[in-house]
């Protein structure tokens, strides 16, 4: 490209072609920005990339499957294998969840992503008075191994293939529950994939199911990672899913989502190295959960920027040698918050757009919410439509024929660079604060995200950002959609089953097992094996967590902190 010729052409275009068009009719806005507020130009050309050296191709972008993996972590990607289509599910009682999972597997879902209720995630038993009204609401109630046995009754872990869950503060407990189940089913842990989300740092920041103070929380997560690595579980899976999606849901911009998630991942990895694990043992098992909203191009650029940053971080900072350490494996989720409560069915379109964005971005797993996301847990119909949406994207759009189809787009490459720059600044700021744990304790992430959320709200309320059905094209139509409700009897049923469990199990065995958990916790040892024994003795999640609460303390936010 002859730079001078292009510069002249662009100048001429601006002065003549554009200028004449603007005189006939002006553009609709003064300034156009991405959802993150990054200003965008009318047209991008090679000149926008020239400063960084667009010609300097291999080192800057890599080719698909090669460092720095901007263009994707696999050379052939979806040409060889489609992304995993998982639908987050689970509600109410174990029995109902069992039926629901069987339905999803029949409809073609490849893997089970377990939604757990809040008492389970926060380590409380359903009979804890604090949990009144909460049992079985945001997911299935799991109090012990008995619950898991019911949920997987007639479902072989081998057939399910992948079992994942949003166990973050209770990582080792959830891992143990599935390992205990595998033992009962006669399935070797290596024959299927257990994926524990296991990112407690994002809980303190944006999701709120943390239990212990941050340092203890990190330790508990690392117990899963370390156990998984040393016992060679999940050779191709993750033991920790560093989550950007929840930060984005809380209001984080694209650069914040990337920068903050990386800072958290760094904290976990550092702890792993401190325990004597090798970077090439740890990094391949730390995956990323990233969101997409409706800003199609920004979200694709964001994920490409993350991949490039992860590659450089692992190689240059941590000295990784294995390409698997440097290639970020990404689970992509269309942001539930973009799905409106008004005019529900248009959320199906949003699911398609978000799904296509994630596929263009080259993610390894993809999640699309059901259209009734803003109202309640998915109805059967809505969940099926979400799955069909995946299938339309996968089979009808051609996105699977080419790896990184938008690579080389002047716009997308320029945006990838900009997001990388801004995200890098965030990572540096957090380092200067002392790392992610220190930043959490100081409320840094939380206040930055709250500010971004407020900025977004102001844009929406002023009409600067249009949301169809919310502030434009509103309809006052009555809601006529069937919404799934959790049966109110579930709480009582779960409490009764728990009482029965406690009557019928060997309580001496439970007591001994819990004692062992306490001892190991106090010695700062790896808690997975003692917890596995406790779980097999039918100790409850609440009982195990209470032992740990006594040893490690509980986290509490100060009143007033934003």
């Amino acid at each position: 490209m002859e730079k001078k010729r292009l510069e002249d052409a662009v100048l001429n275009w601006e002065n003549k072609t554009v200028s004449e068009a603007l005189q006939r009719s002006s553009e609709l806005r003064e300034e156009f920005v991405t959802d993150s507020g990054i200003p965008v130009k009318r047209l991008y050309t090679p000149l926008d990339l020239e400063e960084k050296g667009f010609d300097y191709y291999p080192e800057r972008f890599g080719l698909s499957g090669e460092y720095p993996f901007t263009r994707g972590i696999s050379p052939t990607l979806y040409r060889s294998q489609l992304w995993r289509m998982q639908q987050y599910a689970g509600f109410g009682s174990a029995k109902e969840t069992n039926e629901w999972y069987k339905y999803l597997l029949e409809q073609g879902a490849t893997g089970i992503s377990m939604a757990l209720d809040l008492p389970t995630q926060i380590g409380y038993d359903p009979d804890n008075p604090f949990c009144s009204g909460e049992v079985g609401k945001t997911g299935v109630s799991v109090s012990s191994l008995r619950s898991i046995e019911t949920i997987f009754d007639g479902i072989s872990l081998r057939k399910a293939g992948v079992v994942s869950s949003t166990a973050n503060a209770i990582g080792p407990i959830f891992l143990s529950l599935i390992l205990a189940l595998a033992e009962k089913q006669g399935v070797a842990p290596q024959d299927f994939v257990i994926s524990v989300q296991n990112d407690v740092l994002k809980e303190y920041i944006a999701r709120g199911t943390q239990i212990f103070p941050p340092k203890a929380g990190v330790k508990f997560c690392l117990d899963v990672l370390e156990f998984g690595v040393r016992n060679k579980l999940n050779p191709h899976g993750f033991f920790l899913l560093a989550c950007g999606a929840h930060l984005a849901l809380a209001g984080a911009t694209a650069p914040q989502e990337v920068g903050f998630t990386l800072a958290n991942a760094i904290a976990f990895i550092r702890e792993g190295l401190r325990r004597g694990l090798n970077i090439d043992e740890v990094a391949p098992h730390v995956w990323f959960l990233m969101s997409t909203g409706m800003d199609f191009f920004e979200e694709i650029a964001k994920i490409r920027a993350l991949r490039r940053m992860v590659a450089r971080l692992m190689k240059e900072r941590f000295g990784a040698k294995d390409p698997s350490s440097m290639s970020a494996k990404i689970v992509g989720a269309v942001k539930g918050i973009t799905f409106t409560a008004e005019q529900l069915l248009i959320n199906i379109a949003r699911g398609g757009i978000g799904g296509l964005a994630l596929a263009c971005a080259g993610v390894q797993q993809l999640r699309i919410p059901s259209y009734d996301e803003a109202l309640a847990l998915p109805s059967a119909e809505a969940a099926k439509i979400a799955l069909r949406t995946h299938q339309v994207v996968a089979y009808e759009t051609g996105v699977t024929s080419v790896v990184d189809p938008l690579g080389g787009s002047y716009y997308v490459e320029a945006l990838t660079d900009q997001i990388e720059e801004k995200a890098t600044k965030y990572v540096e700021t957090i380092e200067s604060l002392g790392g992610a744990v220190a930043a959490i304790e100081r409320g840094y992430f939380q206040s930055e995200i709250a500010k971004s959320a407020y900025e977004w709200q102001k844009r929406v309320e002023s009409g600067d950002k249009a949301l169809v059905g919310v502030n434009v094209f509103r309809e006052e139509a009555p809601l006529n959609i069937q919404v799934r409700k959790v049966r109110p009897e579930v709480e009582e049923e779960e409490i009764e089953q728990l009482r029965e469990l406690r009557r019928n199990r060997d309580n001496e065995k439970v007591k001994r097992a819990l004692s062992e958990v306490r001892d190991v916790a106090e010695e700062n040892g790896n808690t997975v094996l003692p917890i596995l024994e406790a779980v097999k003795a039918y100790a409850t999640i609440g009982e195990i967590c209470n032992v740990l609460r006594k040893s490690w303390g509980e986290y509490d936010v100060e009143m007033g902190a934003i």
Binding site: C131, E134, A374, A376, A450, A453
Partner: protein, 133 residues
């Protein structure tokens, strides 16, 4: 109700186990920008905690947020405890993920208004100004 010009004191509270507080925080910042004094409780507060804070801080308004589906249990409990402790005049409003069919029940139990997804800060501020006692 006549609109009042004194600085209104608001407690924004996260009730129950739900940890999603984007809406709550945005409302805190928005109401502050509109001249109200706003205190945020942080997440995972029991009805008892919330009422204690409301009484201690002498607030005029309590805004409850819950996205986990436990609102029918938690919100009425707050209104009940407030009344018991002499806070019967405190305006109680709520928000979060609350199905429309639950609203009449909540209103009957003392929640003056439920602001669902898509509610605007101005709308909420205006309601507060018009209804605070």
């Amino acid at each position: 109700m006549a609109e009042t010009k004194k600085r209104i004191r608001v407690l924004i509270a996260k009730a129950g186990l739900d940890g999603h507080d984007r809406g709550a925080k945005v409302l805190v910042l928005g109401l502050r920008d509109r001249g109200m004094e706003v205190i945020y409780t942080g997440i995972r507060r029991t009805p008892e905690d919330i009422v204690e804070a409301a009484i201690q801080e002498g607030v005029d308004v309590v805004g409850l947020s819950c996205l986990s589906g436990a609102h029918n249990h938690l919100f009425p409990r707050v209104a009940e405890l407030l009344a018991k402790r002499g806070g019967g005049n405190v305006l109680v409003v709520g928000g979060g993920i609350i199905p429309k069919e639950d609203i009449p029940f909540l209103e009957q139990k003392g929640i003056s208004y439920i602001f669902g997804p898509g509610s605007q800060i101005n709308e909420i501020a205006q309601f507060i100004r018009s209804n605070v006692k």
